[in-house]
């Protein structure tokens, strides 16, 4: 376990993020920092702004106010080159969002070949290795429609990893899965975190958060209510809202 307060510049830094959709203020001043190699989990009730926060980090959603820096890139800079940012930030979605007209291997290879313009053979070798790593050897030629939810999600993880990002964002990646396939996806993510990949996870899997996260943030109605190492947050929550949420869910 690493200490985020050891003086090194954080890899991801969010300061006073504000976002509103019409009349709904989704983020009301959120700040958090993630050090390189750290895995953090964001938990909280639905609609508390967790997914929006993740989407702000890779500029899928623009912030109204506040600043976000990822690996030295100012995300909130109006002149931001989104392509440069997104090469460094991988994202995995709740609905997998694989490209249904491409095979598993093609899904993994597409972005490095067409966006990074890397050598096709080199990319293919890396893609096959990644599919092996997420335990999908033999499924290279399968179309997403032929794979189970858990398998699709692992292809999606391999697809993001093939861009060799510095940070991975996971947006409730197990929420749409059958209970029996949740585990296989979580095992993959845990291995990733243990290898030192910087991970930001939005999750409803409290057991997993407790096990994998270096730090857990609890959000409610657009603010971070409290954050602490998992052992502390789960066993001795300070804020009544955290207590109520954990009481309901655990």
């Amino acid at each position: 376990m690493r200490d985020p307060a050891r003086g090194e510049a954080p890899l991801v830094s969010i300061r006073d993020a504000h976002k509103r959709f019409g009349d709904v203020e989704v983020l009301k001043g959120v700040s958090l920092e993630v050090a390189k190699g750290e895995a953090i989990c964001i938990i909280g009730p639905s609609g508390s702004g967790k997914s929006t926060l993740l989407r702000c980090i890779n500029a899928l959603v623009p912030l109204d106010a506040g600043t976000i820096t990822v690996s030295g890139i100012e995300v909130t800079d109006p002149k931001l080159d989104k392509i440069v940012l997104r090469r460094r930030v991988g994202m995995v979605f709740q609905q997998y969002n694989l490209f249904p007209h491409r095979t598993a291997l093609q899904n993994v290879m597409m972005a490095p070949v067409h966006v990074l313009r890397q050598d096709r053979r080199e990319v293919e070798q890396r893609a096959r290795e990644l599919l092996r790593k997420v335990r999908l050897e033999g499924k290279e030629g399968a179309y997403p429609g032929e794979l189970s939810g858990g398998q699709q999600q692992r292809v999606a993880i391999a697809r993001s990893l093939c861009m060799q990002p510095e940070v991975m964002l996971f947006d409730e990646v197990t929420a749409a899965l059958d209970p029996e396939t949740v585990k296989e996806v979580l095992v993959t993510i845990r291995e990733l975190a243990e290898e030192g990949m910087t991970c930001l996870l939005v999750t409803h899997e409290m057991g997993f958060a407790r096990e994998v996260a270096d730090h857990v943030y609890f959000t409610d109605r657009g603010v971070i209510v409290e954050h602490a190492p998992p052992a502390e947050l789960f066993s001795a929550p300070r804020d009544p809202r955290t207590r109520e949420f954990l009481g309901r869910i655990l």
């Binding site: 959709f21 609609g47 929006t52 392509i83 609905q95 969002n97 490209f99 067409h114 929420a175 749409a176």
Partner: protein
């Protein structure tokens, strides 16, 4: 509480109002879409029976010594058949040009630039809602009969101007088909491609449009069936297609009793041409589970 699932397939709460709106709009579009050509084999049989019965009746009434009905019809068939080939040519050219222009116009409708979006929307709505015959008249009478390019005088034949007149509504309808197909795709595909650092153009070309092809094919084929059945409109402005030639043949024969069999045969020709297209469209629709 988990939000209820929507056809748009989003689960991001903040997107739900937009998703609702898009789903409603898609339903509305289906309602307002072009009529669907559904041809039944029994109709073809009914047309054939009508032709045969009316021909037999005409034969029974004909004066002794007159040319037989069958021989008369046979005599004119090559000419009317040639006219029908012109109908096919007009429809193919109009469809090709209309599709090329329509795809561009449809992509302009989803442009990130508001003026481009507004302009292409206006063009699409204008040509989609104008009566086809009015557009045809405009093109026939407003376009020049000949153009001079580098001292060379080029005549623009009537049929080519009529083709242009039919190209405009095809373009507008293809534009709507493209826009509808792109917007019916789950937002997650855009998000996934964007998060993988694809540019907008790459996303469209490699992720969105390939998936849209399957959705666009049935309404596109339906549009073609409607187009070929609209080509006889060109006879009103004097293009020598099948309808004009059939009328000419009837005038030359001066036999009122041939009216039903001759026009019936023309109807049968259109049916035979359109029926496989309509069948294929329905089959594709069923297979893709996508309705127009």
């Amino acid at each position: 509480m988990r939000p209820r699932p929507l056809p748009s397939g989003t689960d991001l709460p903040v997107l739900l109002p937009a998703a609702d709106r898009l789903a409603r709009r898609a339903a509305e579009e289906r309602r307002l879409a072009l009529p669907r050509v559904t041809l039944d084999a029994r109709w073809g049989a009914a047309i054939l029976v009508t032709v045969l019965l009316s021909a037999a009746a005409a034969q029974a009434q004909s004066a002794p010594g007159q040319e037989s009905v069958l021989a008369t019809i046979w005599k004119w068939t090559p000419l009317v058949g040639q006219g029908f080939l012109l109908n096919i040519a007009i429809s193919v050219v109009a469809m090709t040009c209309g599709t090329l222009l329509g795809v561009l116009l449809g992509l302009a409708q989803i442009s990130l630039l508001a003026p481009v979006r507004a302009g292409s929307w206006f063009l699409t709505q204008f040509f989609r809602n104008a009566p086809w015959l009015v557009l045809l008249f405009y093109c026939i009478f407003m376009l020049p009969y000949r153009v001079t390019i580098a001292g060379e005088v080029i005549e623009i034949p009537n049929w080519l101007r009529a083709t242009l007149g039919l190209t405009l509504p095809v373009m507008a309808n293809v534009s709507e088909i493209v826009r509808g197909a792109v917007q019916s795709l789950a937002k997650g595909q855009w998000e996934a491609a964007e998060s993988l650092a694809f540019s907008r153009g790459q996303t469209l070309r490699m992720v969105i449009l390939p998936q849209c092809l399957k959705r666009m094919l049935p309404p596109w084929m339906n549009l073609y069936a409607i187009l070929i059945m609209s080509t006889p409109l060109a006879s009103i402005v004097g293009v020598e297609e099948a309808m004009t030639l059939a009328r000419g043949a009837l005038n030359a024969e001066r036999r009122g009793d041939l009216l039903i069999p001759v026009y019936g045969l023309l109807l049968l020709a259109f049916f035979v041409y359109c029926y496989p297209i309509a069948r294929a469209t329905r089959w594709l629709e069923r297979r893709a589970q996508v309705r127009i």
